[in-house]
């Protein structure tokens, strides 16, 4: 009887499923955009909410996941009950706001010089500006310590000896030092977002300004920069949150400077405590999530009138170059100084570390000790090749999937009026807001017992990367989509094209600078990703991030620098290729 009943129920449910499938297929044919939207929401919700649900759950229980426990708010009381935490949140805010502002200022200056002026060497500056994005923050922080530490930092040593000073001029172990190094870390990402938007801008408004008698700089100040607001806010928001959750730079600089920020507190109290208190880490992570969601809300409010920013219209355009006259050399000089700080100096230090048997301040007497041993060691090690192979796959395949998803999400959230689009945007940003290490824990918990056996394979890294870094792709692509005027899509639809034809033939080509910028951002992050990889990789699927970290952990700085240089070189070629593709479209 029971069997009969089950079989009838089964037949009934089969029929229901079949009806649902037929109606879904019909809906897809009639309104494919809605079906695609639902599919994208489902994918994003699963990617983001599944691991985050584990973290949220972890934040309100009193035992590690996998161990039976009780509901508690004790983790939140512990995390936020001490008034001292608010002083740390404030110092983190100052640090993150300062770093973000510095990075956006430098990136805007560099993007404007390289894309909108006739400064000599601008193309070369444009290509090289993105390369520092491939350098792990850990390496950049170590480089700046070796350059600007007050005792034997190379720049300080050169200045004290050259100028006969009695005391070092700079001290990296300070709040300005911390902001400066994080700012250098964040500038390439801001540059990518701002440069993509600048490339997509119709010069008609600027030309009108000039016709009405405004000077070139007046046009830049009153027309170009205000029109750049979505991209500037996107870059500032991304970088602010990135700095808030950053641990690498504070670990190297803030601890010796005795500056406490939110992430050093999370490490001390939760992740670095013994044994690590993952429940408390999750409660801290939720705090950062709230900060990030507030940032997203502010960003959405400031860019909600998207029509204001629509500058890519149906008219043919080509961003024009501003003739700076004699000032063009000064502009090149400024761009060069920015690149020296973001790229050349850290690279030079890395090269020095890679060439010395052990790092010390080189003198004429120690020049003979320079060696290629560190490069030889990494070339003779199978582990290096395997790590390059794994990271290469994750960078190319992961960035491509992520960008496709980002393009669809940007289209839905910016371009359509579909109910629930703001939910989609919020879903994207949920995993981003957790500190990397906390999210990695959520991913580990979520996928270790997943029915599809992806745990202990490279696919868990793939899913982890896409989950965590999708917001980077969405922000970068969205800042370009916002600038595309709706008249182009309307014209396409009037001509009989469907949603997908319009998306593929009109929007995607116009989004191309943003899409390529997003791909570069993602591929360069993926190739050296660390915080997720360290938790989720298994023997055999080790990517470059953990390899670099273990060289650091084991004190093999020479090999770490040699691998860092190799990554930088490979990525420079990747960036140059992508830039060329981008230019062939817009130029």
């Amino acid at each position: 009887m029971q069997i009969l009943s089950n079989s009838r129920m089964g037949a009934r449910s089969d029929a229901a499923v079949s009806r649902w499938a037929r109606s879904a297929a019909r809906a897809f044919r009639v309104q494919p955009i809605h079906a695609t939207f639902v599919l994208v929401v489902a994918v994003v919700a699963f990617l983001g909410l599944y691991p985050c649900a584990y973290l949220l759950y972890g934040s309100v229980i009193d035992t590690p996941l996998g161990v039976p426990g009780h509901f508690t708010l004790g983790n939140y009381v512990h995390a936020y009950g001490d008034p001292a935490i608010y002083a740390l949140i404030w110092s983190s805010f100052v640090f993150a706001a300062g770093s973000s502002a510095l990075s956006v200022f430098l990136a805007l200056l560099l993007a404007w010089i390289t894309i909108r002026t006739n400064a000599p060497g601008r193309r070369l500056f444009e290509i090289t500006a993105i390369i520092p994005n491939v350098m792990p923050p850990l390496l950049i922080a170590i480089s700046w310590v070796l350059l600007l530490n007050p005792n034997n930092g190379l720049i300080n040593v050169a200045l004290t000896r050259g100028l006969g000073l009695r005391q070092s001029l700079f001290n990296i172990y300070s709040l300005p030092g911390l902001i400066f190094v994080e700012g250098m870390n964040l500038t390439p990402l801001a540059f990518l977002i701002i440069a993509a938007a600048l490339k997509s801008m119709d010069p008609a408004l600027e030309e009108s300004g000039k016709t009405l008698g405004s000077s070139e700089l007046g046009v830049a100040a009153r027309i170009t920069f205000p029109l750049m607001r979505p991209a500037l806010l996107a870059a500032a928001t991304l970088n602010f949150v990135r700095a808030i959750e950053s641990f690498d730079v504070p670990a190297i600089i803030a601890i010796p400077a005795r500056i406490d920020v939110f992430t050093t507190q999370i490490y001390r109290e939760a992740l670095g405590s013994f044994p690590p208190n993952q429940n408390l880490a999750a409660a801290y992570g939720v705090g950062i999530l709230v900060i990030a969601l507030i940032c997203v809300y502010i960003y959405r409010s400031l860019t909600s009138r998207v029509e204001t920013f629509a500058t890519v219209t149906g008219r043919g355009y080509r961003p024009h170059s501003i003739d700076l006259g004699g000032w063009k050399y000064a502009a090149s000089g400024v761009a060069f100084v920015i690149l020296v700080m973001t790229l050349l100096l850290p690279l030079a230090v890395l090269l020095l570390v890679a060439l010395l048997p052990f790092y010390h301040v080189p003198t004429w007497a120690t020049l003979h000790t320079f060696t290629l041993d560190h490069f030889r060691e990494i070339l003779q090690n199978d582990r290096t090749y395997r790590a390059f192979g794994n990271s290469g796959f994750l960078a190319v395949a992961g960035a491509t999937v992520c960008v496709l998803l980002a393009a669809l999400i940007s289209y839905f959230t910016v371009r359509t009026k579909i109910a629930g689009r703001s939910v989609l945007e919020a879903l994207v940003f949920v995993p981003w807001a957790f500190p990397g290490v906390a999210l990695a824990l959520g991913l580990l918990w979520a996928y270790v017992d997943f029915p599809i056996p992806i745990y202990a394979t490279i696919w868990i890294l793939f899913i982890g990367y896409v989950t965590r870094f999708l917001p980077y792709g969405v922000r970068t692509v969205s800042s370009t989509v916002i600038q595309i005027h709706q008249e182009l899509e309307e014209a396409s639809k009037v001509c009989g094209a469907g949603y997908f034809a319009t998306f593929r033939r009109i929007l995607l080509p116009l989004m191309r600078p943003g899409v390529i910028a997003a791909w570069i951002v993602l591929a360069t992050i993926f190739i050296r990703e660390f915080s997720i990889s360290i938790f989720l990789y298994s023997p055999g699927s080790e990517p470059l991030g953990p390899l670099l970290y273990f060289y650091y952990l084991d004190g093999n700085y020479g090999r770490m620098a040699a691998v860092g240089l190799a990554i930088t070189l490979i990525c420079a070629l990747l960036v140059a290729l992508a830039q060329r593709l981008s230019q062939s479209e817009t130029g």
């Binding site: 996941l65 996998g66 013994f274 582990r383 824990l441 023997p539």
Partner: protein
């Protein structure tokens, strides 16, 4: 199917021989069964270069593959616990230091395995639960000879308090770094309680430069950024052989931590794991580790660091989670005031 049967037969033979009692039979049976399994997966905090050298030797000797997942001790513990609690442990062997090992042991993760190689270790280096303490990581005072002449170098811990060394000492932040908190809390074992408390207060008053862990402390001494550091003294050998002008202070007694290797009770490759443990604790492996600068506990085997054979090792105290949290709180008041 046949492979599965063979595997079961292999496991049966392995278990049978274990009961027979002779070390030789045990070792042979384990090796035979291990060959059916092909590889062993180890999670540990032992440095990758050391493991790489051991891996080559292990593969040459047994034909078995070693897959190694390296992380800091707490991450090793975290991952092993998470996998175990989820019922999906992919590790066969764990090798890390005492405190995380005891946490894992209390969680019921380990199987008891008495390796025949254990009998070569001195009895004081054998933990009743975790087995042989295969290496000691020893914390002491390391200095840069270009910046501090050996004659002017500190001779003991008290000398660190001298005015000439103020601001010239680097050490891990005890409010961040668990092992350093443990080291400070265990100083009483080599200094006496009152002296140790006063020393900690006075050391904090000299405003040492605080860094995230022991390695960055060594790096600063190696590069000459800071003349003196509290760090693992093995770095004096490891960086010294690359040409760095380093030496360490010959303290009469030095505190440190012990490291262990243990078998998971849900090992996917139990026999390969046992074969690895046998090899790892054996003579060849211990000598290889010592050559790379490790203080192993095999009788008469020392790293090539001058004076290594005269070092009197004192095991630091172990603390539980609450104990460490209290220590970090106490040191936050002392070191950041």
């Amino acid at each position: 199917m046949i492979a599965a049967k063979l595997k079961h037969i292999g496991v049966f033979i392995g278990l049978f021989c274990l009961g027979s009692g002779t070390a030789l039979a045990q070792s042979t049976a384990v090796t035979d069964a291990a060959k059916q399994e092909g590889k062993v997966v180890a999670y540990g905090s032992l440095e990758s270069d050391t493991v790489e050298a051991l891996k080559q030797a292990f593969q040459r000797k047994t034909g078995l593959q070693l897959e190694y997942w390296r992380a800091s001790a707490t991450k090793v513990m975290d991952r092993a616990l998470s996998e175990y609690r989820a019922g999906k442990p992919i590790f066969d062997v764990v090798l890390t230091n005492s405190a995380p090992m005891h946490v894992l042991e209390k969680a019921g993760i380990f199987a008891k395995y008495e390796s025949p190689a254990a009998k070569e270790f001195p009895s004081e280096a054998i933990d009743p639960v975790l087995g042989p303490r295969y290496r000691n990581v020893i914390i002491g005072i390391m200095y840069n000879k270009d910046l501090v002449k050996p004659a002017d170098a500190p001779k003991n811990l008290q000398d660190l308090l001298k005015p000439e060394f103020r601001g010239k000492i680097v050490m891990p932040d005890p409010t961040q770094h668990t092992t350093t908190a443990q080291w400070l809390a265990s100083l009483y074992k080599i200094m006496g309680k009152e002296k140790a408390h006063k020393f900690i207060d006075d050391l904090a008053a000299t405003k040492p430069i605080l860094v995230e862990s022991l390695l960055p402390a060594a790096r600063r001494v190696t590069s000459g950024e800071t003349p003196i550091g509290i760090t693992y003294i093995k770095y004096a050998y490891m960086y010294g052989k690359q040409g760095a002008p380093l030496d360490y202070v010959r303290l009469p007694k030095m505190l440190g931590d012990g490291h262990y290797i243990t078998l998971s009770n849900k090992a996917v490759h139990p026999n390969a794991a046992k074969a690895f443990i046998d090899f790892f604790l054996g003579d060849q492996s211990m000598k290889l580790m010592a050559q790379l600068g490790e203080f192993v506990n095999l009788k008469g085997v020392y790293p090539p660091l001058p004076g290594a054979d005269k070092i009197q090792f004192v095991q630091m105290d172990d603390f539980n989670g609450k104990g460490f949290a209290q220590l970090k709180k106490d040191y936050a008041q002392i070191f950041t005031r």
